[in-house]
């Protein structure tokens, strides 16, 4: 075993028991972990140790987790997963808008944490362009450059806005995209408060792409936060 080749994860979590649990679990899944209970030390380690991913608890004793994200994003693309308590949708949304890549609300199962870490690390190792030309999940197939969308072998006609919305989600496939980010990327910065645009077009997309729009399999709602395009067919 070559320890240096294992991906290095940075964990900033102030609860010692929870930190211990996460460290143990992560190490058990072949990651190296450096853990800190204080934001400042963690931030310093992010600069000096060059970790592959940051797991950040939003409620820290010394610095606001949001500040850490903002600070990091000034110079780094380090993937960030934030951990938060329930009923903090606005905090989560803010963290994502500040540049965090994904989130989990406590309590969560460690299995989900593992799959999120894997997905994020996989995205980093992809080509610098970052986007797969072909996206496929279940019966849904999307060819971005050809602007083709196929469901169960049938071509589906999308309006330009519907396609734009879908392509933003494809570029972040597997990750949550906030309402604000979607509105800004599809309609422009002037529309970030017009969330009803998003609801209507998302509804249209679901009617065209999902077998049952009330029980979507691909275009998932993260209530109060945003949307996630499912990357793997749920088992």
């Amino acid at each position: 075993m070559k320890p240096t080749s294992l991906p290095l994860l940075l964990l900033i979590e102030d609860d010692p028991q929870f930190q211990m649990l996460l460290s143990t679990t992560l190490e058990n899944h072949d990651y190296q972990v450096i853990a800190f209970a204080v934001g400042r030390e963690g931030l310093l380690a992010a600069r000096t140790r060059q970790p592959s991913l940051l797991i950040l608890d939003l409620g820290l004793p010394d610095i606001d987790g949001q500040d850490i994200i903002r600070h990091l994003r000034q110079w780094s693309d380090l993937p960030i997963i934030v951990l938060s308590s329930r009923n903090q949708e606005s905090e989560i949304t803010l963290a994502l808008d500040n540049g965090a890549d994904d989130y989990l609300t406590k309590p969560f199962s460690t299995a989900i944490l593992m799959s999120r870490i894997k997905a994020l690390l996989r995205r980093v190792t992809k080509a610098p362009s970052g986007v797969n030309e072909l996206f496929q999940v279940g019966a849904l197939k999307i060819e971005l450059t050809k602007r083709r969308v196929i469901v169960s072998g049938q071509d589906v006609g999308l309006t330009p806005i519907e396609f734009k919305l879908l392509s933003v989600l494809v570029r972040h496939a597997g990750f949550v995209v906030t309402h604000r980010q979607l509105l800004e990327k599809v309609w422009g910065a002037a529309y970030v408060e017009h969330s009803h645009y998003l609801r209507i077009y998302m509804g249209q997309l679901r009617h065209k792409l999902e077998a049952d729009p009330t029980r979507p399999r691909y275009l998932l709602t993260e209530a109060g936060v945003g949307y996630r395009l499912c990357e793997e067919e749920p088992i």
């Binding site: 329930r86 309590p107 645009y197 609801r199 509804g203 709602t221």
Partner: protein, 524 residues
């Protein structure tokens, strides 16, 4: 009655300063008129006849205008009789002793009857005044009887005192710390200009009147009256009189006291009603706390006992357990922890909703969106169950807090899953109704007894408290709190063919904002 009488006289004498001149005029004019009438018949009438006519005139004046005009009329009569009728005519001298005696007797009778008539008049006025006061008191007590709040009593008292005594009034009560403070929201157009809390405090602690026109601190512009109830002095009434006589005449005092007594009684009544209400609330909240404690101890202790026990066994007997047994214990810990987590979340949610901490983040959503996300959260649980969604086409967007609404649906679906036999379907109906958007979740379980259909939304209520289903009786209370925060309504009924049906209505609040249409066509 007597003091009211003299008070009335005093009141009347002020009012009628202008009137007495007029009355005096009639006291002279009526005898002169009678003289003019009698003059042509002086040959036919005897002196005693003429004196009788004059006496009649005096009676009339006495009844109509009172004592002093009637005495004036008697004197005028005497002079006119002596001058015009008693020989020698056109002289005030009276030559015949018979006429002199007649005149003297007539004057005496006139004065006496005038006095009697005046008394009758006075009695009538006293009775009238008494009646007026009785009806004023009646109106006061009637209004006070209808008051339910301290502020209402104070408002009514202030208004009636002003109407009866012409004073500007302020009620001063001790606050929670025992400091006196005036009630600021006086309904009177002209609130009291000055009131001195030190004087009020003296009155409050001594239980005696003070201020303007009294023996104590008489340089104050207002009169301070203690409000003495059966349980001690409850406050102070400050009155700033526009006319001291109307307030402080000895005859007015009992009347003022009656007013104040009425107000104090009303204040006592509303206060004790308020205390009784507080006591009931306290009992209710204690009952609630007890049911919370028993519920928590039952529903959280059991999973906790399992977790602690399983973890201990794993810790102690790690080497002696085979792989299968270890696996079983770990699964048990995981499942029970999940159950505890769900319960804790529900308790915390309820506490947050109760504390009013939840701010609705309302946005326009398509109903299918929060229904879909609720179903996804229950994916695992509902895996083996058929869920039918009957949704009307073209439903408008609704203004809701999607996170909370999703919670409502998760709770309803979770209940439907828990309380209906496995394999039977769950149905969701969504439609627009005149009452708003209706969302119904229906199962094919045993349903809810009719008499419990309201109670199921109460906190910690469970139809079958001893049932094996884990639960704390908070899910539906949370649903109700959330739906009501949206100004909506939620009901539980039984559906045709068996099963429970929970239906919630969300009011349509305004029109959803419009979306600019896309100008270009479809792409392929």
């Amino acid at each position: 009655m007597k003091f009211i009488g003299s008070a009335t006289k005093n009141l009347l004498s002020q009012q009628s300063a202008g009137l007495s001149c007029q009355h005096g005029f009639w006291g002279i004019a009526i005898p002169l008129l009678l003289t003019a009438i009698d003059w042509p018949f002086r040959g036919l009438l005897t002196a005693s006849n003429i004196l009788m006519f004059y006496l009649l005139g005096v009676f009339f004046v006495a009844i109509r205008f009172g004592l002093w005009p009637s005495i004036l009329a008697s004197l005028t009569n005497a002079a006119a009789f002596a001058y015009f009728f008693a020989p020698p005519i056109f002289s005030l001298a009276i030559s015949e002793s018979e006429n002199l005696t007649g005149l003297a007797v007539t004057m005496l009778i006139g004065t006496l009857t005038s006095k009697l008539a005046e008394n009758v008049r006075h009695q009538a006025r006293v009775a009238e005044e008494g009646e007026r006061r009785a009806s004023a008191l009646y109106r006061l007590s009637k209004e006070l009887a209808e008051a339910h709040l301290e502020q209402e009593v104070i408002g009514i008292g202030t208004r009636h005192l002003h109407a009866e005594f012409g004073s500007r009034n302020t009620f001063i009560f001790p606050d929670r710390n025992g400091q006196l403070c005036r009630q600021d929201d006086q309904p009177l157009a002209l609130p009291l200009q000055s009131n001195n809390l030190e004087t009020a405090y003296w009155v409050f602690s001594h239980g005696q009147m003070a201020g303007y026109g009294t023996d104590t601190l008489s340089n104050e512009p207002a009169i301070y009256v203690p409000l003495i109830s059966t349980s001690g002095t409850m406050g102070v009434l400050a009155l700033e009189p526009s006319d001291l006589r109307r307030l402080l005449l000895p005859e007015q005092r009992p009347f003022l006291d009656t007013y104040i007594n009425q107000i104090v009684h009303a204040l006592e009544r509303v206060k004790s009603a308020e205390q009784a209400k507080q006591a009931t609330l306290k009992i209710q909240s204690e009952t609630l706390r007890n049911s919370l404690l028993s519920s928590i101890s039952h529903d959280l202790r059991n999973p906790l006992a399992t977790i602690v026990g399983a973890a201990c066994t794993l810790d102690m007997d790690e080497d002696r357990l085979d792989k299968d047994r270890r696996r079983k214990l770990v699964t048990v810990i995981n499942e029970e922890a999940q159950r505890m987590s769900e319960l804790t979340i529900k308790i915390l949610d309820m506490a947050r909703l109760e504390a009013g901490e939840v701010m609705l983040n309302q946005q326009w959503y398509a109903p299918e969106e929060f229904i879909g996300s609720a179903l996804r959260r229950l994916d695992k649980k509902l895996e083996s169950r058929q869920v039918n969604i009957l949704m009307a086409d073209n439903l408008a967007l609704v203004l809701v807090d999607a996170v909370l609404l999703q919670q409502v649906l998760v709770n309803l679906l979770d209940n439907a899953d828990k309380y209906s036999p496995a394999g039977l379907p769950i149905d969701i109906f969504v439609e627009a109704t005149p009452l708003g958007l209706s969302i119904a979740v229906a199962d094919r379980g045993p349903g809810i007894p009719v008499d419990l259909q309201q109670k199921v939304f109460d906190k910690f209520f469970r139809v079958n408290a001893e049932s094996a289903q884990s639960g704390i009786g908070l899910g539906l209370s949370i649903c109700r709190a959330i739906v009501e925060a949206h100004d909506g309504d939620i009901q539980a009924t039984n559906r045709c063919g068996g099963g429970a049906l929970f239906q919630l209505y969300l009011p349509i609040l305004g029109c959803p904002p419009s979306v600019a249409p896309e100008d270009s066509g479809l792409i392929v």
